[in-house]
Every structure is written in structure tokens, then in C-alpha cells.
Subunit: 729 residues, 2 copies
């Protein structure tokens, strides 16, 4: 092994020591890691490099898990709705769910912890009208109303961990079915601490403990044939136990009910506006997990090891944007990064920890198989990631999986060598400093605010898109966040609660509200609040900018569907205003922004949005459906866009939209590339200039620097060039 200190974490694999040694050097690695399914060969455990060892404590001791079904992970599930045909009805709660994964939790009394609902009348069935028969595993209801639907919300315990299940079913892993235990219980926590103490002692070569689940996993519900039926990578559904619910009641002064978790079958999906009760439960869980995790980190530190956490599988209770995250004591935050948004999710979180990006593709047979082109997938990602890297510093990179598989694709090895070399230059030239940003902070307003900053905003299109790999959440639909991730603006995520509590900070110059109706992203019922509306109207009237994308401020009330339709100058036709006479659209080609609405800027789909102010200027449309519209409101401005799917031209349009919304279009903006395919970033601390070509073709751009000097630069396809600004370029 070389003594050169690199910047990459390399996955190892027993029997592939020579490959590891070769790639360690070529890829400029400085750390080795095991992966799920691989272990660290002894020959590699020592050397001038870090050794990351995976630690998933809640599934570490299967003997303990098997001996204690009462400590397994539990969750509330809702039975499928069953229709009564008479005045009595029997429901098998687990009907339709995986019997390999779930058991009814009979350790908690159904009459106390379960709930039966009439979903047609929308009411609770009194416990006196039903009983659970443990013999047949059925719930029997009496006095039902014929042709009403009934559901049972019940506690299930998980006898097969979702990740173990995934690897068994997708990657054909053999071996026992793994169970996870819930460290909420003092007995479990004590046992895991003992286990971990022993582990620390018996792993002297480990320099970094790479935690991959502190307490709870993301939500995956599995159906009858073990197929996924519901997923929420950032949901808090699998954190429930009767004891925790009792303690919650003591702490918050009110009791949660099964309905707070099953949510009429919607399960508080992250894309939904969270109820206050669900947010309270999240806070409760966060406190618990932070407590557990900080204790474990302390133990690791005491043993002379650093701690890392992989955020890809693991979010619940350890969300990096929450203030409590910093209490845990994580030294390295590892994010699974496939695009600019995922990178910003990693790099923008506060705190002093190291940020390490785990890139895709993972070295698994689903991608690394004959006929596949892993370079293409990687390059698609890398183009997006580079953009975002220019805007916020990244510290390390890494990969995971089977190195032997990757090694069968020499072009991929070369490609990663190139990535790593570009990354090395980036570290050298930037010294991990912040690049220059345009004037004015941009705030993204949604129901989650900063807590869920840079979370991909799931859209309806996702359901109607058949992904090449079902386990990979390939986001389709509206992704203006991806455009934004590579733009030189200070970005802040704010919530409606923030506005109600603190108003709008003076340094915020533009507010963006985007996403589909009914979602946490657009805000839904949060718009049914006069204070929110008047606050934003005032903000715009006094010179601010409002950008609405998708269904901004959508909530039907008081004669409007877009509650800020007065500011945005548009309204959506939801079949309530069909009598209003439409005027044919005239596209305004004289607007300052019109020049950036090029052919590459596409507005897919029909918005059903129309201009309803006479002075609304329509800049683009899809037939008679407004796609892009600009308005003035008091001293401020607004833009409505039906969507902003990521590409470089749309990103450049967004950059100019933000500048226009800040009324800065007449001001000279330095480092504003006139070629949409080339990004320019200036690092004032190191006086270095980065120029990155996102296109496979040669491109030329012109821009001005902060001294108003004019530059013209040509880059080869995909080239990333650095220039010192103290020398002439």
C-alpha cells in the first residue's frame, strides 16, 4: 500500500487483495470498508489507511432477537378494508401482508392497542363491538352496517428485517432471516451496549465504526408474496411499541392512537403534510434515538475510534438537518449520492463532521452484469454531482459492494480513476472553502422546512414510471431542486411554522413554493391560513420575489385554488371556474426572461392553469395551458412555472428567473456563464476558478469576473478546468 493519503473509501472483498491494492492506489483511496455481504481480509486490515467497519447493532445478535419476540421492531398496520354484507363481519388483520415478515403482536392486548374503524362512516367501532380470537387470528365485529367498509389497525411485530428480506429476495442471499430488536426497551439497550463494548474490544483494527442503523429502519411494508407494497425512506412508521406510546403520553400530555400511525392507510408518507401529532411523535423518537446513538458514539470514541453513519438506509431519529443530530457525535456523515440534490442533502447539513459521498452504482450484480454499462449510469450521476459540488464543499468520496464485480469492467475502473482525480484537484484547489454566490438568499417554503432540506420531492409521475430497477427511487416528474442544487445562491428551507413564528427573514429575497397539490412540498392546508397569505403578499409587495412551480399555494378556499393566485397572476382550472371565458394565450416574447426560454426548456404535461390577471405575461405555454408566467405585484415580482425538469438550459433559466425576481437583471452579475452547459464557480479564498462542461461536446462561454473583466473560455466535452484568478486566463 502507498503511504499517499487519499480521499476515497474503497470496499474490500476477501480473495481480491490484489485488486484492492491496485485500485487503492489508482483511485487514491485512504480508507477500506466492508460492505453488507463482504468482510475485511486480514491482509488488508493493517496499513496507512482507515478501516471502516459496518455496525448495525439492532440486528447484530440474532440469538438475543430470537429469544425475545417481545423486543422485536413493531409497527401499526391497517388491514385491507373489508366490506360488511351483514350485521357481522370477520377480518383477518394480516390478510394481504407478508406472513414471512409480520406476526400479530399478541404481547400487547388488542383491546387496548388496536383500533377498529368503520371507514365508510368515518368513525371508530367501540371495543365492545369487536373481539380478537387468537386461535383463528381473526377480529370478529358485531352490529356492523351492511356495505360499510371496516378496517383493523393492529400492532405487528417484524420477524424479518426489511434489509435482510431485500437481500434474500433480490440478491439471493442465503442464510437465516435476520430480525431487529428495539433499543427503546432498557433490557435491549443494555444488552446491545454490552455487545458493542465487546465488539469494540474485539475489533482493534477498526478505526471508524460505520453505523448503518442506530435504532429503526425506513418503512417498507411487504405484501402477501413478500413484494414491497409501501415504501417511505424517511418515514417513522416502524418505531412503535406500547411502552413508547405510554411514555409519549406522559411526556406530551396526550395519547396517540393507532390512527395517528395508519393515517387512514396513508401512513404519514413524507410527501404528506405532517400532522402536529405525527411531528410530536417524530420529536419523541428523535430524542430517543439521539440518546441511544450518542451513548454508542461515546463508547466508540472512548475506544479510540471515530464514528461514521450511513444516511442512505438510516434516517429515523438521526436527521442531519435537525439540531439534535449534532448531539450524537458522528464524525463522518456518509450519504448515498446519485445527483446534485442528494449531494446537497449531505453537504448542506450543519455541523463540523466530515461529509463523505457514497456514489452509485453500488458494485452489485444488478448493474455489474454482462451487457450493462455502469459507466453510463455513473457519468449521468457525476455530471449532476459536479455541479452541486461547486456550490458547497464535499470532503470525501467512496463506493460500496463487490470490488471483484467492478473490476470486470475496465472502462469503469478508468472512469472512477478520472472521477477520483477530478475530486483530488477539487480538494486541492478549493481547500474545502465556499465558492462565490449571487446576491440574495433564496428560501424554499414547504411543510417540512429545514428539517427535510434537500429531500427529493416525490411526485405523482413516479408511480406511473416503470423504473429499470424497482429498488432505486428514480425520481421523475418535477425536479427543480436538481436545477437549484448547482446554482450559486444561498438556499434555505423554511416551513409555514417558521413564517408564522418568525415572519420572513430580511435576507430572504425570493421564496419558492413548489410541488404538487396535496403534498407537504406545496403545503396543502397550510395555505388555509390568512397569516401565511398576508405575510407572503407583504413580502412580495415590498420588493420580494415569489416563484411557484407545479401547484404553488394550492388549496381550495374562499374562491381561489391557488391561494396566492393574486400574486402569481394565474389560477388552476379544477372544474369550478369553467364558466369563466378563456382568452387565447399570447406568448410574450419581449420579456427579459424570454431569451432563456429556449427549445431545450420543456414544459411537459398540461397544467390546466390560466392567466387570470390582465397584466399576467405568459412566457411559455403548452397549447392553451400556461407553462411559464411573470407578474408584478406591488414592488415585487412573481413567476409561475408548471414544471422545471432538470437539464442545463432549464437550470440556466431558473438562475435568471431568480435574478429577475430579485430585480437584479439590470445589475452586472459576476460569474454568470452565458452558455447553459458550462458552470462557472469562483473560490475567493483560494482565488481559483472552476469551469465545468456538462455536455459531451466542446463548448465556449463568456462571463465577467468580480472586477468586471470579461472572459471567454472554451472547454472540451465534459472538461473540468481550473484557472488561477491571479494569473491572466
Amino acid at each position: 500500500m502507498s503511504t499517499h493519503r487519499g480521499h476515497m473509501t474503497l470496499p474490500v472483498e476477501a480473495g481480491q487483495e490484489a485488486v484492492v491494492a491496485d485500485l487503492f492506489k489508482r483511485w487514491q483511496a485512504d480508507a477500506l470498508r466492508d460492505s453488507d455481504g463482504t468482510s475485511m481480509p486480514d491482509a488488508l486490515a493493517h496499513g496507512d489507511h482507515d478501516v471502516y467497519s459496518i455496525m448495525c447493532l439492532v440486528r447484530a445478535d440474532q440469538d438475543f432477537a430470537n429469544a425475545h419476540p417481545e423486543y422485536l421492531h413493531r409497527k401499526y398496520l391497517m388491514s385491507s378494508p373489508v366490506t360488511a354484507h351483514e350485521q357481522q363481519l370477520s377480518i383477518l388483520p394480516l390478510d394481504g401482508y407478508s406472513k414471512d415478515k409480520y406476526e400479530l403482536d399478541e404481547t400487547s392486548d388488542p383491546q387496548t392497542w388496536w383500533e377498529v374503524r368503520d371507514r365508510t362512516a368515518g368513525c371508530i367501532v367501540p371495543p365492545s363491538h369487536w373481539h380478537y380470537d387468537s386461535q383463528t387470528q381473526q377480529v370478529h365485529l358485531i352490529q356492523t352496517t351492511p356495505y360499510h367498509e371496516y378496517t383493523v389497525s393492529f400492532l405487528a411485530r417484524q420477524i424479518w428485517d426489511s434489509v435482510s428480506m431485500y437481500n434474500a429476495l433480490t440478491n439471493d442471499w442465503q442464510g437465516p432471516r435476520i430480525k431487529s430488536v428495539d433499543p427503546y426497551h432498557p433490557q435491549v439497550r443494555a444488552h446491545l451496549k454490552n455487545y458493542f463494548a465487546h465488539w469494540l474490544k474485539t475489533h482493534p483494527d477498526t478505526t471508524v465504526v460505520r453505523f448503518t442503523t442506530f435504532a429503526y429502519l425506513f418503512v417498507i411494508d411487504s405484501g402477501e408474496s413478500n413484494q414491497d407494497i409501501y415504501r417511505d425512506w424517511t418515514g417513522y412508521g416502524e418505531t412503535v411499541s406500547p411502552q413508547a406510546l405510554k411514555d409519549f403520553e406522559k411526556q406530551f400530555g396526550y395519547a396517540l392512537t393507532p390512527e395517528d400511525f395508519v393515517d387512514a392507510g396513508y401512513y404519514n408518507g413524507t410527501y404528506k403534510v405532517p400532522s402536529q401529532r405525527y411531528k410530536d411523535w417524530m420529536t419523541f423518537v428523535q430524542n430517543v434515538v439521539v440518546d441511544v446513538a450518542s451513548e454508542l458514539c461515546e463508547m466508540a470514541h472512548a475506544a479510540g475510534k471515530r464514528t461514521a453513519m450511513f444516511q442512505g438506509d438510516h434516517w429515523i431519529g438521526t436527521e442531519p438537518f435537525l439540531p439534535c443530530y449534532e448531539k450524537i457525535g458522528i464524525d463522518i456523515n456518509i450519504g448515498a449520492v446519485e445527483d446534485g440534490v442528494a449531494l446537497r442533502r449531505l453537504t448542506d447539513s450543519p455541523g463540523k463532521h466530515v461529509r463523505e459521498a457514497r456514489f452509485y452504482p453500488y458494485f452489485f450484480p444488478d448493474v455489474f452484469k454482462p451487457g450493462n454499462d455502469p459507466v453510463a449510469e455513473s457519468m449521468r450521476n457525476w455530471v449532476k454531482i459536479r455541479r452541486a459540488m461547486l456550490r458547497m464543499p464535499l470532503d470525501r468520496i467512496g463506493y460500496g459492494g463487490y470490488l471483484s464485480l467492478a473490476n470486470q469492467f475496465p472502462e469503469f475502473i478508468d472512469h472512477v480513476t478520472q472521477i477520483s482525480s477530478e475530486f483530488e484537484q477539487y480538494l486541492t484547489k478549493t481547500q474545502r472553502t465556499q465558492s462565490h454566490q449571487h446576491r440574495g438568499k433564496v428560501a424554499i417554503l414547504n411543510a417540512w422546512g429545514q428539517a427535510r432540506a434537500w429531500l427529493q420531492q416525490q411526485a405523482r409521475e413516479q408511480r406511473f414510471f416503470v423504473p429499470p430497477r424497482p429498488d432505486v427511487m428514480e425520481l421523475v416528474g418535477s425536479n427543480p431542486l436538481e436545477c437549484l442544487s448547482g446554482l450559486p445562491f444561498e438556499i434555505q428551507f423554511i416551513s409555514f411554522e417558521d413564517i408564522l413564528t418568525n415572519g420572513i427573514d430580511d435576507d430572504i429575497k425570493v421564496i419558492i413554493n413548489m410541488g404538487e397539490a396535496n403534498t407537504a412540498w406545496s403545503g396543502a392546508e397550510n395555505w388555509n391560513n390568512p397569516q401565511v397569505l398576508s405575510c407572503i403578499r407583504q413580502f412580495v409587495a415590498q420588493g420580494g420575489g415569489l416563484l411557484g412551480i407545479g401547484d404553488p399555494s394550492a388549496w381550495q378556499a374562499n374562491g381561489r385554488y391557488y391561494q396566492l393566485g393574486d400574486v402569481l397572476g394565474v389560477e388552476k382550472e379544477i372544474a369550478l371556474t369553467m364558466g369563466r371565458v378563456a382568452s387565447p394565450i399570447k406568448i410574450d416574447r419581449e420579456h427579459e426572461l424570454s431569451q432563456y426560454v429556449t427549445n431545450e426548456v420543456t414544459f411537459d404535461g398540461l397544467s390546466y392553469v390560466y392567466a387570470h390577471n390582465q397584466d399576467t405575461r405568459v412566457l411559455a405555454s403548452n397549447g392553451q395551458h400556461v407553462a411559464l408566467a411573470a407578474s408584478e405585484y406591488g414592488n415585487g415580482r412573481s413567476i409561475y412555472a408548471s414544471c422545471m425538469s432538470f437539464n442545463m438550459e432549464t437550470s440556466r433559466l431558473l438562475e435568471h428567473i431568480l435574478i429577475w425576481l430579485m430585480s437584479q437583471e439590470e445589475t452586472k452579475t459576476p460569474y454568470l456563464s452565458n452558455n447553459p452547459h458550462i458552470d462557472v464557480a469562483y473560490y475567493p479564498h483560494t482565488q481559483q476558478l472552476a469551469l465545468v462542461n456538462a455536455s459531451p461536446l466542446s463548448q465556449t462561454t463568456t462571463f465577467q469576473d468580480h472586477n468586471n473583466h470579461h472572459h471567454e473560455i472554451n472547454l472540451k466535452g465534459y472538461e473540468w478546468r481550473w484557472e488561477s484568478m491571479d494569473t491572466s486566463i
Copy 2:
């Protein structure tokens, strides 16, 4: 003039006596009419034909109207929302409205009859916080909340009748601006009766009084530059007066408010679910108009004349499907008919009156101008109308406008000659009897029920469609009603109220619910009623059929958006279930209905609908969006279709869907054409068989008669052939 008694009403025009005489014969006319803008030449007033004379009493005496502004038609308008920037605000109620058409109604006290609302907080501003200044025509508000929007709902009087305005602006008619008076006032009513009595005396040649507005007109709101800004051809907005409101309160025991009319700016559009208060107002107005109209009809009858009413412009208070309509004493109901739905709206209304179809195009310069092809428009209509004529008897046909214009298009004259000749055969062969229908009644369920049977169901697409002629409501979007208008089923329209009051009649075999979410057609909040849901579930479970088109049973509640999604087997993604994992669609090509899902059956647009029952069979899709799905539910069946735009193949699919929903697909159905372009209708009373080819090409069809005899018939393009069933064919 020939003594031949025909079946057509012909418009006359002074100076065109020879043309009239010629066409009277060629078109087999038996009646002459004047039109708006034409009058009856003396030379034609006598003869062996009826003379229809237009009578619009409310605008007949302009001297009276000009002398009595307090009797003009009045309506509630809502001012545009105005945003307060401080704690006081002034609003010009008429801002944005036509000053040529409206005046503020100062004869009624604003403090009593107007209403000011805070549209951001959603509440009424107390009258003590505003006053009206008649000098400036402004409403001044105090104690406003900054950045809240305010509106004034005010009474306006109409100083220019909408029809007069239309003819002046669109057809460049000169002459004074006509005003309409409100016969609600006893003084007006007495005056108009006197006027009418005199008119009857002075029009001895008139045999038919053709009323074209008894009391009130449809709703058209006009903007600042006299452009239409809101239209509702069947709305009751322009029927308001303080006296009527007072009388309403006495009669119904509660007072209506301005908000009941302006409806947050939605104005109770016919496509909206009507409130009980709006329906009460409609009942009130209907009683008034029936009272006025029946008195006028009685006078006409006493003078030895028959009465006709033109339904095209005139609906308010005289809706032919209401039981009270028959009290009026109309002898001839004239409908403006451009398609099958309009024809069925005319022919399906109960009562003994004669049904006369007024065909399009109207002989006006907008169509009859050089370069235009009126035959093409007429033929498009005629193909649809013929289909529907086979299903319900029609008595007469007619045209309107300037005969001299039509006469400049000889192909059009020939074309109408052909239409009239086909109509004559139809009368002869059918003897105005009912054709054979398939088994089982089909009910169409919406918020209006039978009261608004066969009303075109406006869809959102209409707004985003630029019509060739803005005044013609060219319906685009979902029009399964057009498909249905030509199918041999007994059709009944039912309302949710019907179901709640009477349940579902035993003879109903299929219920159709269709239309977009939020509309009166789909039903919106009516679906938030357990009794409606359980009633329909029981109906299907016991063997009935449910057909949902568009957004059937759409209402977000209790964990479902499609409230009957359990029966339909589908759910719509409105961004609340994005975590539910999608399974790629497999199109079922083995279903009994699959053979009818041909390439000509198109499902435009993305439904955002997915199958959510395992046994839902998807028969067609648009990508991963379900377009057509079939389910079984108990002993019954259901079909979901995303849309059913009219064409012959889609109509034939619908015919088979209805047969399948009745579980009759195994039974031999007589007169079921196997060629979608050919309709077959059998008239048992006359033993005549009609065969109609809707396509321009030669077509062959096979079918069985009621004696199970097999027939094979070839028809030329557009041919309509009659066969006697007692002879071999």
C-alpha cells in the same frame, strides 16, 4: 305554395319571397318563421302553412323599459378581489365590468342588499365597517387587515340585454340598446299582459307564438371592454330583485344572502354541485316563471293560436324536464340541436308537446361567408343527430337566420333537401313510434338528476380549447353522453337525492357516474355520504353494474379518493398514496370486452389512475395510467374508463360495456350491429328496420333480428336505408 303538408319550419326574409317559395317546396316546409333581425313579408303571411312569430315580451316595449329603471333585470355581481395595503380600502364595485351593460342598482339600499367580504379570512365585513358613496360609486372600508383581499357583492341592473349586446357587437346590428324588464313585479306583469293582448289582436296571421324568453335570460357577464367574462347557459343568476328575495324568505322561511348568488365568484355554475339554497331559489323562480308563462300561453290559446318555446336561449324557469314545465301549456318545444345529446335533451322531455329541432348552422354571416363550408358543419351534426333520432322520436325540424345567405351556397341547399327527405322517410316509416331497446334500464347518476337530463357535461378541456367561433359552445373533453345518445337503451337520469329518498329502482340495471372531480356530474361532496355508498355497493353486489367515467365518485375522505374505488377496483393518485408501490400494468387481452377496444378507441390524457385490487383487469392504458378496467364485485360488475370521447367505435364499445355490466354478454342481443359504423334500429310498431351508415365509406354489417334470423347488409357511405321486416331482406 304547395298544399303538401311538410315537417319543417323555414325562416323568411323580406325581399326573398321567391327563394322562400322555392325552398318551402324543396325542403318540405309547412311553417314559416321570422328570426331575430328578419320580419315576415306580407306576401308570405297567408297560405297553407303555419306562421311562427317570435315573441320576447320582456324586451318588447322599450319605452316602458326606459321609463322604469327600477324594473330592469338585476343580478348580484362580485367585485374583483382588492387587496388592502393599509387599514382602509376603497373598492369600485363595477371595476372590470362593462359600463355599457351594468349600473349599480341604487334603488335598493346597499347597506341592506350588498355584502362586503374579507376573502382571505373568509368572513363577512360588518356593515358598520363600510359605506357606499353614491357620488364616487365607491365602497369605503375601514379596519381592514393589510394584505387581505376584499370583495363587494352588489346588485347591478342591466341596461343592455345580453342578446342585444351580442348582436350589436358580433353581428354589427345597429339600433338602440335593448333593455329587459323583470315580470316579477306586478306592474311589469300587468303591462306586459296588456302589451301581449294587443299584440295578439294585431297579429291575426300568426298561428304559432314562438316565445323566446318568458322572463329571464341565461347568464352572461361582460367585462370592461364588453367582452364575455362568464357564461352559464342554464344559470339562474339574472333573476334577482329585492322584492323576490323578500318573498322567497316568506315562502322558504329563511333569507338568501348575496353570497348565495356570487358564490365566492363561482356564481353557482351549472357544472358545480348545487347547494340546497340555490336549488330552493331555482324552485322559487321556476314557480314564478311557470305562473307568468302559463298566463301568456292561456292568452295565446284563447286567441286561437298555438304556442312554441325556443329552449336554446331560454331555460331559466322553464326547464322541460321539470314537472312544472307541463303546466305552462307549450304546444311546441323547439330545441337548438347540434348533436345527439341536444336532440335527446329535446326528445326525451316528458309531455305531449311537439318536438321541433332547430338545426345548425344558423344562417348568419359568421358561417355563410365565402370560403366557409356550411355543408361540412351540417353533416358533422347530422351524422350524430340521425343516430339519436333512431332512439327517441322527433316530430319536426327547422332552421333560422337569413335564407338569402344560405341560398348563396347551392350545395348546402341540396344537402338540406337531402336531410329533409331523410326526415320525411323517418316520419313515414316510424310513425313517431319508439324503436326496440336492449334489456335493462341505464341510470346516469349526478347531482342534478332528471331535472338536467341530457345537458352537455362541461369539462375542463373546454377552457383550453380555442373554438373557431367563441359564441358556440363546442364541447371538447369527455362526452360519453354523445355515445349514449345513439344507443338503444332506456336511459334515466337520477340524482343523489333520488337515491337517498327512494333507493335504486328495480328496473335499473346499470348506474353510470361520469365527469370530472368537483363537478355536479361526478357529484363531489355527494359522495361523502355513507348511505349513497352502501346503497350503490349493495346494488352492484346484488348483480347490478357500475360504470365510472372520468373521476367517478371522486371525493377525498376516509382513506379513498374514489369513494367507490372498492367497487371500481381503481384509485386515483392525487399525491396522497405515492408511497404505495406500483406494479407495472399488464393489459388483459382475454376479457370479453377486449375485442371492442380497437385502435379507434382512444383514451387521451393521463388518468393518474391505478388498479388497486389484485383482481382488477386492465383492458387499456395510457402508459402506466389505467384507461379502462373491469372488476367483479359480489354478483355484479364494474367498469372504470378514463374517458369516452365520441366516435362510432367508442360508442360500440360502450354498448358492449353496458351489455357486459348487465351480465348479458352470453345472451343473444337482437339488432346488435357488428360494424361500429352502422346503426340498426327496429320499429316493432311499424315493423320497419332502419340501417344507418355513419361513415363516408361503404360498410357491411351483420346482426340478428328478434327471431334470431341472421342478416348481412351493405350500405353506401352515409346511406340511411329502411327495410320492412315482414319481407325478406
